[in-house]
């Protein structure tokens, strides 16, 4: 296993573009901290985002995992190109000739995906802890460790998404087209969702229960948007006569769906590689 990781690490560490994007990605996660410094004047009242409870434990876990998950798009570029480059440099062929089995090849890529996800999660935990300890109104240990399922959901979400990128990289063979394909896939999922919701199953929740099984939708379902959960937004909404009744929890079946997709993508990648002549 270590050998496979070493092989992939050797490929990535000398690739300047991959290095720059990876570093940018991790820097972006730390930039969540910058939200703390956002201040604006609201009718003479000083308004500081950090004081509105977004960094309160355990809400911070929800908020930070949601925000940090956006940065995954950067790493998606690295993952897609690390797959597609093997085709465009024709090094995949050479790797296999040199004695790497197809299983080991997929293994080394997927292990890298896992390592990236673990690193992101650890990074996020550190950033959240620092922000939380500095700004949270509640610092009791039992509160800090509650709602940690968001962190697990974040990790699963990353693994699932990167496995999808890995599959696209192998399937499309060209990084730019693979990223385009990812975008098209996202649009198609949304169109199908809109069609189901507003045409086929109008006025019912059947559409949602179908769409939750789609790969990208299932990943975004894991961590729902945290903004309407904030006190100040809820009270503002109440004044306008709106009432948000939303389920923000992480569901075990959501995690299972994403994990099943992950397995499918890894399996399909291996199948493609096995079937294809190089």
């Amino acid at each position: 296993m270590l050998r496979l990781l070493n092989i992939e690490f050797q490929k990535l560490r000398y690739n300047k573009a991959a290095k720059v994007i990876t570093i940018t990605y991790f820097v972006l996660i730390t930039f969540i901290a910058l939200i703390a410094s956002i201040e604006f004047n609201f009718g003479g009242v000083k308004f500081r985002i950090a004081d509105q409870g977004i960094f309160n434990f355990p809400y911070i876990w929800h908020f930070n995992t949601y925000i940090a998950a956006w940065a995954k798009l950067f790493l998606a570029i690295v993952i897609v190109s690390m797959m597609a480059n093997e085709y465009s440099h024709r090094t995949l062929k050479q790797n296999l000739i040199d004695g790497l089995s197809k299983k080991e090849f997929i293994g080394s890529k997927f292990l890298t995906v896992i390592v990236f996800s673990i690193l992101s999660t650890i990074f996020l935990i550190i950033v959240s802890m620092i922000l939380g300890v500095s700004f949270s109104d509640y610092n009791e240990f039992s509160i800090i460790v509650s709602d940690l399922e968001y962190v697990l959901a974040y990790f699963v979400k990353l693994v699932g998404f990167f496995a999808f990128c890995m599959f696209l990289g192998i399937f499309v063979k060209r990084s730019a087209f693979a990223l385009g394909f990812l975008f098209i896939w996202w649009i198609v999922e949304n169109i199908i969702y809109a069609l189901l919701k507003f045409k086929v199953f109008k006025g019912s929740t059947i559409a949602e229960s179908i769409v939750q099984f789609f790969p990208l939708e299932s990943m975004s379902n894991l961590i729902k948007e945290p903004f309407t959960r904030l006190n100040f937004i809820q009270s503002a909404a109440n004044q306008l006569g709106e009432n948000f009744q939303k389920d923000y929890t992480v569901h075990w079946y959501g995690i299972v769906i994403v994990l099943v997709w992950t397995v499918i993508f890894v399996y399909l990648s291996h199948l493609l590689l096995k079937k294809r002549d190089l």
């Binding site: 050998r3 070493n6 092989i7 050797q10 490929k11 000398y14 690739n15 300047k16 440099h89 024709r90 090094t91 062929k93 050479q94 790797n95 296999l96 000739i97 040199d98 004695g99 790497l100 089995s101 197809k102 080991e104 096995k274 079937k275 002549d277 190089l278």
Partner: protein
């Protein structure tokens, strides 16, 4: 002798085209093999199959008498097929280190192998800055990293300038002299003739011949004869059982032997018959003539 690679009835179809058709042969340790065939005859496809990058349609192959899985066997093989493929953003040494990791060998031999192919002073240059000849030499160095039991080379001199071709051939000869089994695919006859002891000839995916280069043609060679009495000579040749056939070409009579006969003997026989020769040469068909004969027989 130990078998390194055995092919059993290997067939590969690309849609309606059959690239390799029911191909069987065995590679034994210590010999230098050539796979000879015109462009598009299925050489690279055959190598692709045994190297695990092309899937066979039917048939099978075994490495080292089937004692190891294909990818483990490939760790004991050094191979370059078609163009050299490396990571352009890595240096020569970094690329070779990666190959070492894949093959599971230590990286201490990198400098030694770079020395063999004459690239030691360029080891820290990025691969993308290399010329085609240098890339090809780096590929050979990479194939040698694990001190392979067999070295597989697919058209190693393709696209190189004369100097590059010469360098590559020298390297191949050096390696062959050390006793490494070599499998060389080429459409260049002289290349195979110069380097190989055994040859497999394929055309349109079908095996035409496999065996020793010098036994390729069962013929005993031919005589080029000239005499002032050519018609008498021709009559004599027709009657003699030792000759299969003869023909006249530019005033010379080419007589093909059906059995062993040396020039001295022939000369003596003819002289006693009263035929005086003005020209007598005994020759063997060159590999090129044999190759053309073999490939033409099929049409």
């Amino acid at each position: 002798m130990e078998n390194i690679l055995t092919l059993h009835n290997l067939t590969k179809k690309f849609g309606p085209i059959t690239a390799v058709n029911d191909l069987s042969f065995t590679i034994k340790k210590g010999n230098v093999y050539g796979i000879l065939g015109p462009n598009g005859s299925g050489k690279s496809t055959t190598l692709g199959i045994v190297l695990n990058v092309v899937n066979e349609t039917s048939g099978s192959f075994t490495w080292f008498d089937g004692n190891t899985s294909t990818h483990d066997a490939l760790k004991k093989v050094g191979a370059i097929i078609e163009r050299p493929n490396f990571y352009p953003y890595m240096t020569a040494a970094q690329n070779l280190k990666l190959v070492c990791q894949i093959k599971g060998v230590t990286s201490e031999k990198i400098e030694e192998k770079l020395e063999i192919v004459g690239l030691l002073e360029r080891k820290d240059s990025k691969f993308r800055t290399f010329s085609l000849g240098m890339k090809q030499r780096l590929a050979i160095a990479s194939a040698l990293l694990n001190d392979p039991e067999i070295l597989i080379l697919d058209e190693p001199t393709n696209g190189l300038d004369p100097q590059g071709i010469h360098q590559i051939r020298e390297i191949i000869k050096k390696i062959a002299a050390q006793g490494t089994t070599i499998l060389l695919a080429s459409h260049l006859l002289d290349e195979v003739e110069k380097v190989c002891s055994h040859v497999v000839i394929i055309r349109k995916g079908i095996k035409l011949y496999s065996g020793r280069v010098d036994e390729m043609n069962a013929s005993f060679g031919f005589f080029e004869l000239k005499s002032n009495q050519n018609s008498v000579l021709k009559d004599w040749l027709t009657k003699h059982d030792g000759f299969k056939s003869h023909k006249e070409e530019d005033g010379k009579i080419i007589a093909f032997l059906a059995q062993e006969l040396d020039a001295e003997n022939l000369n003596r026989q003819l002289y006693t018959e009263g035929i005086v020769l003005t020209h007598l040469v005994k020759r063997k068909e060159s590999l090129e003539e044999q190759f053309l004969q073999l490939t033409n027989n099929l049409n």
